[in-house]
């Protein structure tokens, strides 16, 4: 004879949310912020090869926190989706909002129907042009999608970091200022983060079709001055 235990949906959601939050809180946070001519993403990441920030398409970038294998699979799916869409239609038809919605649906499905929720939060950033505006879409572990106006923070410590960054940056700044504010906000008042432990990617128009660039340690030191 088998036993069926009733679990209230409220309880189920609460348990799953707690599980996902715990997993995400184990990793370091990421800040993505819009500066005067682009978008910068800053992650604390001691690994130089296991990236949290990545290029998706000409004007779209990806950032993920939490379990690496889980968000990296979504990163790969995003590149496939973008290249496939651009191949089928045209490059300008590849839109970050559509991709963020697909991510939100998948992450949301996994949260309610999957064997376990994904322990990740992801960000889709889009650099604007004459057809589209600059956008930061944040997708949380339960599939909530939010359109963040000026900056977004992903990860366990998001609220604290958000407060620190918002206090230091009230208007759109240059790359140098935004980058410095982001690093300070990630580090907090009690510690500093070495440049070698940072992973930084930008979306900026530099005369090429592809706008994504990784900043090397040397470039970051030079920008910070």
């Amino acid at each position: 004879m088998s036993n069926f235990f009733y679990v209230a949906p409220e309880q189920l959601i609460k348990d799953r949310a707690e599980f996902a939050q715990k997993g995400i809180a184990r990793g370091r946070s990421i800040i993505a912020a819009i500066y005067d001519v682009g978008v910068v993403m800053v992650a604390e990441n001691p690994s130089a090869s296991l990236n949290k920030i990545s290029e998706i398409y000409d004007r779209i970038a990806f950032a993920g926190v939490g379990k690496y294998n889980e968000f990296d699979r979504l990163r790969e799916a995003g590149i496939r989706w973008a290249d496939g869409t651009g191949f089928t239609y045209a490059r300008e038809d590849v839109d970050a909002r559509a991709l963020a919605n697909f991510y939100a649906q998948h992450v949301g499905d996994m949260f309610t129907e999957g064997p376990k929720p994904l322990e990740i939060e992801i960000l889709v950033a889009q650099l604007g042009n004459q057809f589209r505006s600059t956008k930061l879409y944040r997708v949380a572990y339960e599939g909530t999608i939010s359109d963040e106006p000026n900056f977004a923070v992903l990860g366990g410590d998001a609220e604290t970091i958000k407060g620190r960054f918002a206090a230091s940056e009230t208007t759109t700044q240059t790359l140098k200022t935004t980058l410095q504010n982001a690093i300070n906000a990630l580090a907090g008042p009690d510690r500093t983060i070495a440049v070698a432990d940072l992973e930084i990617g930008i979306l900026e128009d530099r005369g090429n079709r592809r706008t994504f660039a990784r900043l090397s340690d040397g470039e970051v030191s030079e920008i910070l001055g």
């Binding site: 090869s49 990236n51 990545s54 290029e55 998706i56 699979r73 979504l74 790969e76 799916a77 995003g78 590149i79 496939r80 989706w81 290249d83 496939g84 869409t85 651009g86 191949f87 089928t88 697909f102 991510y103 649906q105 998948h106 592809r210």
Partner: protein
């Protein structure tokens, strides 16, 4: 198209071509009776600092369909790809190659090696040419960043990939271009000599092959000339290209249409 997620065992990896096939974006071709000549001449010549490529601009069906086609395109910053054969397949092939190299780079955060790019194209050519009469034959040239040298890869109809250490030609004007290159090629050609030799070989092909377009002084349309060296893919300006073909044409005129006993 939905979000293309794969489980670990059927994941197509960083190959865009395998993904496109699995997603139905690129359908295997159905054979039919339509046969089109690969009316084209594209030349690649190695010189000490890289590779020079020269390609004619004419698209031919039963008549001249277009006079300003670009048959050489950058596949990425350090690689040029040219096609001969059916135009539709050629364009699709170039798009597939361009997208594939970029796709690989984004997926793995590393660029493919030049040899990796050359080998990647083989099965795509093989699949197209062995299942369809709409044949396409590419020519790949690039700057090998790992070995710091310019390299040329040509293909046979079944997708076989062969590296050429001197020069390579594709298209219906090949015999004439090839003969010129055989007489004029040295392993120590400098950039200027390689460009002039390539331009002369194309001039010969345009002069003898009805499906290869030579310099068009009436419309100011000239065969395109590109160089691939340590700085990457560079296309010569129309003025520069025009001046080189005008010089060849003047020499020919002065010697009554013959090369005049020297290779010029």
């Amino acid at each position: 198209m939905g979000l293309p997620l794969f489980s670990a065992h059927d994941d197509p990896g960083p190959s865009f071509f395998r993904f496109a096939e699995s997603a139905g974006l690129s359908k295997p071709s159905a054979a039919d009776d339509l046969k089109l000549a690969h009316a084209t001449t594209v030349i690649a010549v190695r010189y000490v600092g890289g590779v020079v490529m020269v390609g004619d601009r004419q698209a031919t069906s039963h008549y001249i369909a277009s006079r300003d086609v670009r048959k050489i395109e950058p596949a990425d910053r350090y690689t040029a790809i040219a096609v001969s054969g059916t135009a539709a397949r050629g364009i699709e092939f170039i798009r597939m190659a361009q997208l594939s190299f970029e796709h690989y780079e984004k997926m793995t955060d590393m660029s493919l090696s030049l040899e990796g790019k050359a080998n990647y194209l083989s099965p795509i050519i093989q699949r197209n040419n062995l299942t369809s009469p709409l044949v396409v034959l590419p020519l790949l040239a690039g700057w090998d960043l790992g070995h710091q040298v310019g390299r040329i890869f040509e293909y046979d109809g079944a997708g076989g990939c062969y590296e050429r250490f001197d020069f390579a030609t594709i298209g219906s004007g090949s015999p004439f271009a090839e003969n010129t290159l055989r007489l004029g090629f040295r392993s120590d050609l400098n950039l200027d000599e390689a460009i002039d030799l390539g331009a002369l070989a194309l001039y010969e092909a345009g002069d003898n092959d009805p499906s290869t377009g030579g310099p068009d002084f009436v419309r100011n349309i000239f065969p395109m000339i590109v160089t691939i060296d340590a700085t990457g893919f560079n296309e010569l300006s129309q003025a520069d290209t025009g001046a080189r073909f005008a010089a060849i044409s003047e020499r020919r005129t002065s010697s009554g249409g013959f090369a005049g006993g020297t290779l010029r």
